[in-house]
């Protein structure tokens, strides 16, 4: 393992604050993975044609027969009279649920236009919940771009589910944040082996099977973008386990160790489970580390996973960090990560995309992590890129995935070496 940070490294890096054009998705995008996590839920965006077009473009391919998300597109008549808009929404929800009787939870998802015209979706959700009592629960949250960035949509969706979580003080480890099912199963198994009494997840796989929360709950964040949910769960009595996030061997080990420590488990038993994983994980990482070592990395703000990924790529893969951008910086949730970043790492919060691209061009990094709108243009300028959106769909958490995670970043570099047109 890499040496623990020295006191010099612990000095908080200076953060470059940027404001200008932000090249990021809005929170509606999280529906793309949330609806897959909870197959009995439907996400109904109340918005415009832009919202519908965004989700379908972000989802990339149109592969679903009838997806479990859709958009109630506001028309001119809805804008003219809000009373009518509410009636229209009720009608549309009734029609939707008639066609999709398997739906148990309906999320009304607010958008930029619905927020601006102040369409009260909370009242709509209460009204519809009462009408549909016993059949479908109707919740609401905002995924609008004026309030949320990309992955923050999940944070808001989880917060909407929180009031429905029963209270219980029983001891449990609550893993919060959508994980790929296979990865989640793996973590549960490992925690069971270590002796964690009870492991539950939020969001659950069935929207109606919400875990309880209370004084016995130790809260372990699987994703770094759930600030609001974490605070709200702490408010309900849960204790937040502070740890780096489970990316890479080191991060995953620290994450699982922190959870085990929160339950006072014997370190030897924990090490017995984790040591073989670490050895195997490092072996899988090695070929990719050789490819990535010494390469210069620039991360543009996108998914809020940039800081943990930068930590992994710097410490376990030997990459040199040129700049680590993040859409917003939650210092509490990032404290353990920032402590592990190499001293003097340049962090930037927010974005002025033109100025940031100027810095990219000036620095000529070996690899730029960015969104889909920027990747090909940067490639055309001769700069290798890795687009980040697939990381929110892919199984990348845990010691066993560290090799795959590194490979995702090594691939663009590797590919460049293979290609030749002479």
């Amino acid at each position: 393992m890499v040496a623990p940070p020295t006191s010099a490294d612990l000095a908080l890096p200076e953060v470059l604050k940027q404001s200008g054009q932000r090249e990021v998705f809005c929170g509606l995008t999280s529906i793309v993975w949330l609806h897959r996590r909870m197959p009995d839920a439907f996400f109904l965006v109340v918005g415009s044609r832009t919202c519908a077009h965004l989700i379908q473009s972000a989802a990339g391919v149109m592969i679903f027969a009838e997806p479990r998300f859709g958009t109630a597109i506001l028309g001119e008549r809805d804008l003219a009279g809000l009373a009518d808009a509410n009636e229209e929404l009720d009608r549309l929800v009734r029609e939707l649920l008639e066609r999709r009787p398997e739906i148990r939870t309906l999320f009304l998802v607010g958008s930029c236009p619905s927020e601006v015209i102040k369409l009260d979706l909370q009242r709509a959700a209460e009204r519809l919940s009462a009408q549909l009592a016993g059949r479908v629960r109707v919740l609401n949250y905002s995924g609008s771009g004026i309030e949320t960035t990309f992955t923050q949509g999940e944070d808001h969706a989880l917060m909407a589910m929180l009031p429905l979580m029963p209270s219980s003080d029983e001891d449990q480890l609550l893993i919060v944040g959508t994980l790929a099912d296979a990865v989640e199963d793996r973590f549960r198994l490992l925690f069971e082996r270590m002796g964690v009494p009870r492991v539950r997840s939020l969001p659950p796989r069935r929207s109606t099977e919400l875990p309880p929360v209370g004084a016995g709950t130790r809260l372990l964040l699987a994703q770094p973008f759930l600030s609001g949910t974490a605070r709200a769960l702490v408010h309900r009595g849960a204790r937040l386990i502070e740890s780096p996030y489970p990316f890479g061997v080191e991060g995953s080990r620290l994450w699982m160790e922190a959870a085990a420590a929160a339950f006072g488990l014997a370190p030897a038993a924990v090490a017995a489970v984790l040591d073989p994983l670490e050895i195997r994980g490092r072996r899988a990482l090695e070929p990719h580390r050789r490819e990535l070592e010494g390469r210069r990395l620039f991360l543009l703000p996108d998914s809020q996973m940039e800081i943990p990924l930068a930590r992994f790529l710097a410490r376990e893969c030997g990459m040199e960090l040129v700049e680590v951008g993040t859409p917003y910086l939650d210092r509490q949730l990032m404290a353990a990560e920032m402590a592990l970043l190499p001293g003097g790492t340049r962090l930037s919060e927010g974005q002025d995309v033109e100025k940031q691209l100027e810095r990219v061009r000036a620095e000529r990094p070996d690899l730029v992590v960015c969104g889909l709108g920027l990747a090909n243009p940067l490639e055309a300028e001769g700069i290798a890129t890795k687009w980040l959106i697939e990381l929110v769909f892919s199984p990348i958490h845990g010691c066993d995935q560290a090799g795959e995670l590194a490979e995702l970043f090594a691939r663009p570099l590797h590919r460049r070496q293979r290609l030749s047109f002479v």
Binding site: R22, E66, P67, T71, I73, E76, D78, L89, G145, L372
Partner: protein
């Protein structure tokens, strides 16, 4: 309020982005909230563009709404003009900004931008869509740039044949090609070549590749060619009204349409055009050749933008001998033309932007080939029907590296290949069906259409003439062919009679008719001798026959009884 799951068209400001991104020297400042930058990826990913769209967004957030968003707009405009130094500036807003009414266009007009022409775009996001937005933006830009050249009222219309007096070659503008349109890049090349071969020059191509200065030269041409009415219809009729410029409206997709196009343009410009020979394109001969016999009467379902739907209907029915069993469009602006074309084919046009309604109509029509957009590609895949994409909305694979126009003579070649190849493969599937009893065969194997045979759903019923066609299209190698023909032919004759006669009495993709009838092993064995692509239909017809008669068991005899029944 309207429920939408997938949309054919984006919002109107995406149409405006298509115009700005298609051109050179144009920049678009878009007052839009954080998140609307997603639209960049349409260009950088689907079109594989190597540069960012020339769009600057204000990306306002909730905290900006409390402050002065108008100031943000002005700051953004100033910064964009300073940085990109455009030759013309488009200023507009997306759906959310429309609600906060900052009037970015008026703000821009009130600013000193060093003389950059500013065109304000007002695109009602809550009633209009992408293609309308593209047409309107193109029109506003052209109108804005040409306002100083407007002839006085009552001016004499310029003659489209004035090139003779002026002692030069005739010249036309090609209007409408744009990014995210279907194969526009190659259509422009093909039509320019075609026109050049008849002594006609292309003056301006727009919006694709044009600069603002090029738009200011539009009136220099003798006529406008409206290649894609979805984008250029508004501009062409304005140029006709304001500058007296004639419009060539025939869209040259397909052999007949390309000939009509040349006739229209030659009459308009007074250009002698030598009679065109069939040999200009390979499509006519390929379509006449015996190998194509099996195309006869193939059932084709068409859904696309109006331009491509209309063209496909004509080519399919006249030039390939298909039977069009469904025709529709999501382009409401051109619905009238599509309705008329459908009527001529004895159909009712489907005008809809609900892809589920389109999928339902597709299933009901039981086609053997679907010509559609990306949406129909997915629907067809689910139904197990081959599909060729003929129109936007696009997938990255619909922007091929190779030259592949739709228009003109070469376009007809491309169309023949891309529509017929999925069917050739369909025939290959039939051959696999014939080899089904060979030990090498793994049941359910389908070479390219998907990961497995569609569950009990027929790919389609064999149309009339299919049996004859199968003889005609067996692969080379005469020895092998002779031994292969006899048995499958007999099978498919049976299959065909069973399948085609009572097709309409049975739902195209519904579950097998419920009832007490049970297949006996010998009945099932007989059924399995029938090629897979009609087997499902035969099964349902036979079950319907058995249910009607209250038969508890279906054996081989019942199958033949049903055959006799349906062959009446």
């Amino acid at each position: 309020m309207e429920l939408t799951l997938w949309t054919y068209e984006g919002p109107p400001h995406v149409g405006a982005m298509r115009i700005a991104s298609s051109m050179e020297g144009v920049h678009y400042v878009l007052h839009a909230p954080q998140g609307d930058t997603y639209a960049d990826l349409l260009f950088t990913m689907i079109e594989r563009r190597n540069r960012r769209p020339p769009v600057t967004y204000t990306t306002f957030q909730a905290r900006d709404l409390g402050g002065d968003t108008a100031e943000l707009v002005k700051r953004t405009i100033k910064a964009a003009v300073d940085r990109f130094q455009p030759e013309a500036l488009l200023v507009g807003e997306s759906c959310t900004a429309e609600l906060i009414q900052d009037q970015p266009g008026s703000l821009a007009h009130g600013m000193d931008l060093g003389g950059v022409p500013v065109v304000s775009l007002e695109l009602p996001a809550y009633s209009k869509k992408e293609n309308w937005g593209a047409a309107e933006s193109f029109y506003q830009l052209v109108r804005g740039l040409l306002k100083d050249q407007l002839p006085p009222p009552g001016f004499a219309k310029p003659s489209p044949q004035r090139w003779r007096q002026e002692g030069r070659r005739p010249r036309v503008n090609l209007l409408g090609p744009s990014l995210l349109g279907f194969r526009c890049r190659d259509d422009v090349l093909e039509i320019s070549k075609l026109l050049a071969s008849h002594g006609i020059d292309v003056s301006v191509v727009a919006p694709l590749g044009a600069r603002p200065a090029d738009l200011m030269r539009l009136p220099d041409a003798d006529a406008n060619v409206c290649l894609y009415a979805e984008v250029a219809g508004t501009v062409c009729s304005w140029l006709e009204r304001s500058f007296g410029m004639a419009t060539v409206k025939t869209v040259p997709i397909g052999i007949g349409a390309t000939r009509d196009f040349l006739t229209e343009i030659s009459e308009l410009l007074g250009v002698e055009i030598a009679a065109t020979s069939e040999a200009e394109s390979r499509l006519p001969w390929y379509s006449r050749s015996v190998d194509s016999t099996y195309l006869t009467g193939k059932r084709v379902f068409i859904f696309a933008d109006a331009t491509h739907a209309l063209a496909a209907a004509r080519i399919a029915s006249q030039e390939l001998g298909f039977e069009v069993v469904g025709l529709g469009t999501y382009s409401r602006e051109q619905a009238r033309e599509v309705r008329a074309a459908a009527k001529q084919l004895g159909l009712e046009a489907l005008i809809s932007d609900d892809y589920l309604a389109v999928e339902k109509a597709m299933a009901e029509a039981a086609p053997e080939l679907v010509l559609g957009t990306q949406m129909e590609r997915h629907s067809a895949k689910r139904l197990g029907v081959p599909c060729a994409v003929i129109s936007s909305p696009l997938h990255v694979q619909d922007v091929p590296a190779r030259y592949s126009p739709q228009m003109g003579w070469e376009g007809a070649n491309v169309i023949f290949d891309s529509w017929v190849h999925p069917l050739m493969m369909g025939l290959e599937e039939h051959l696999i069906g014939m080899f089904r009893h060979d030990f090498e065969f793994v049941d359910g194997h389908r070479s390219h259409l998907g990961d497995g045979a569609p569950a009990a759903v027929p790919v389609a019923d064999a149309g009339p003439g299919a049996a004859a066609a199968q003889v005609g299209t067996l692969p080379s190698g005469p020895g092998a062919t002779a031994t292969l023909v006899a048995e499958p032919l007999a099978e498919s004759l049976l299959a065909e009679q069973l399948a085609t006669t009572a097709a309409e009495s049975i739902q195209a993709d519904g579950p097998a008719v419920a009832g007490a009838s049970v297949w006996t092993p010998d009945g099932e064995a007989e059924l399995h001798k029938i090629p897979f692509f009609v087997r499902g239909k035969v099964r349902r017809n036979t079950e319907a026959f058995a249910a009607e008669r209250g038969l508890a068991r279906i054996d081989a005899e019942t199958l033949y009884d049903a055959k006799a029944h349906f062959s009446r």
